[in-house]
Amino acid sequence: MSLSTTLYNTFFRRNSIFVGSIFAGAFVFGIGFDSGVTAFYDRWNKGKQWKDIRHKYVEAAEEE
């Protein structure tokens, strides 16, 4: 069975599977894309954002 036949039988034969896989794909892509961009953004701005300096002040508050 060739790849295109497998693809057809898996995703395109039934409309419910087709639409469902589009929705699931959008969901997974959204999460992956968001975390990818965020990882790049945090690495680019390393040490500048609040989450990078937060630990200094939270520990100080707990010691008091």
């Binding site: 953004y41 500048k48 609040w50």
Partner: protein, 333 residues
């Protein structure tokens, strides 16, 4: 000029030559028709070059372009002297561009700087300037922890009410309260500052030409007035302020505040920190906005590429088709 000796018809013929300078043009009968005994062939080529329409158009375009370029570069037409009633210093000195830590399209604010800048605002600027649009809660997760902000808010008394008896009462501040103003109203602010109103700083970075650069230059740019510039009593000279005379005196001096993280509190350090803080106050959405910008650029460029590919894909058969004509066979004889 030679052209004066020629008939208009001959000139027109010369001008309508296909291309000046080409060898064919020189040898053509038309070129010969306008040549007279005293003229060399090279002169005829020059003649036709001078009289060609292309030369006229390109020289006109060059002239107009030069004038436009000069006007764009220097702001006035060339060779026309101008007199202005105002002086350039009335506009204020243009601030230099500073390398802010949040200047690039991918750069967030330096939040340690925002925290120091808040300290400078609280200890120095807040004596005269309000910050109406920033609430205590806005600092949480940006420059301070929630416990720190709660403690800071509780130090301020806010009026609340009415209570059961219809009386207004004072209570300690909460996270939802806005920054306390230094003066009760605008009239009190003017009265306390010899008629000059200290502007609210919430949106000041957006509200001034030059933005952060201007405010930094203003805070660090106080100098003695140059000779010939008269500053009234109670005013101060600052070349970056439009007009030069500003009501606010220089407030930032080395060592004015003591930073908790040990950063040396020089004048320029304090100015940089407070301007970063004010820039955050003007654009609290700044960091998130730039992150969304990255996402938008990636997604929209991918969609553009896909649509370009789909267009080419769909048009391929139309662009590559050939139409063949197969004439019907003549079967009559």
């Amino acid at each position: 000029m030679l052209s004066r000796q020629l008939s208009p018809g001959a000139l027109r013929k010369a001008a309508s030559l296909p291309a000046f300078g080409s060898k064919n043009a020189l040898r053509s009968p038309r070129a010969l028709a306008v040549r007279n005994a005293s003229t060399a062939s090279s002169s005829t080529a020059f003649e036709s070059f001078l009289n060609s329409r292309i030369t006229l158009v390109s020289v006109s375009l060059f002239t107009a372009g030069s004038v436009a370029w000069y006007t764009h570069l220097y702001g006035s037409l060339p060779f026309l002297a101008q007199v202005h009633a105002s002086h350039a210093s009335d506009e204020g000195l243009h601030p230099p561009q500073y390398p802010w830590s949040h200047k690039g399209v991918l750069d967030t604010f330096d939040h340690a700087s925002i925290r120091r800048g808040y300290q400078v605002y609280r200890e120095v600027c807040a004596a005269c300037h309000s910050l109406d649009r920033i609430a205590w809660r806005n600092l949480v997760g940006v420059s301070h922890t929630v416990d720190e902000v709660k403690a800071m808010a509780e130090e301020v008394e806010y009026q609340d009410g009415p209570d059961d008896a219809g009386e207004m009462f004072m209570r300690p501040g909460k996270l939802a309260d806005y920054m306390p103003p230094p003066y009760a109203n605008e009239e009190a602010a003017r009265a306390g500052n010899m008629g000059a109103l200290p502007p609210d700083l919430s949106l000041i970075v957006k509200a001034r030409h030059g933005g952060a650069d201007y405010i930094f230059a203003l805070l660090t740019g106080y100098v003695d007035a140059p000779a010939g510039v008269e500053i009234r009593e109670g005013m101060n000279y600052n070349p970056f302020f439009p007009g030069g005379a500003i009501g606010m005196a220089r407030v930032l001096f080395d060592g004015l505040v003591e930073y908790e993280d040990g950063t040396p509190a020089t004048t320029s350090q304090m100015a940089k920190d407070v301007v970063t803080f004010l820039n955050w106050a003007s654009e609290p959405e700044h960091d998130e906005r730039k992150k969304n910008g990255i996402k938008a650029v990636i997604l929209f460029s991918a969609l553009t590429l896909i649509s370009l590919y789909v267009k080419r894909f769909k048009w391929t058969p139309i662009k590559n088709r050939k139409i063949l004509y197969d004439p019907p066979a003549d079967k009559t004889h």
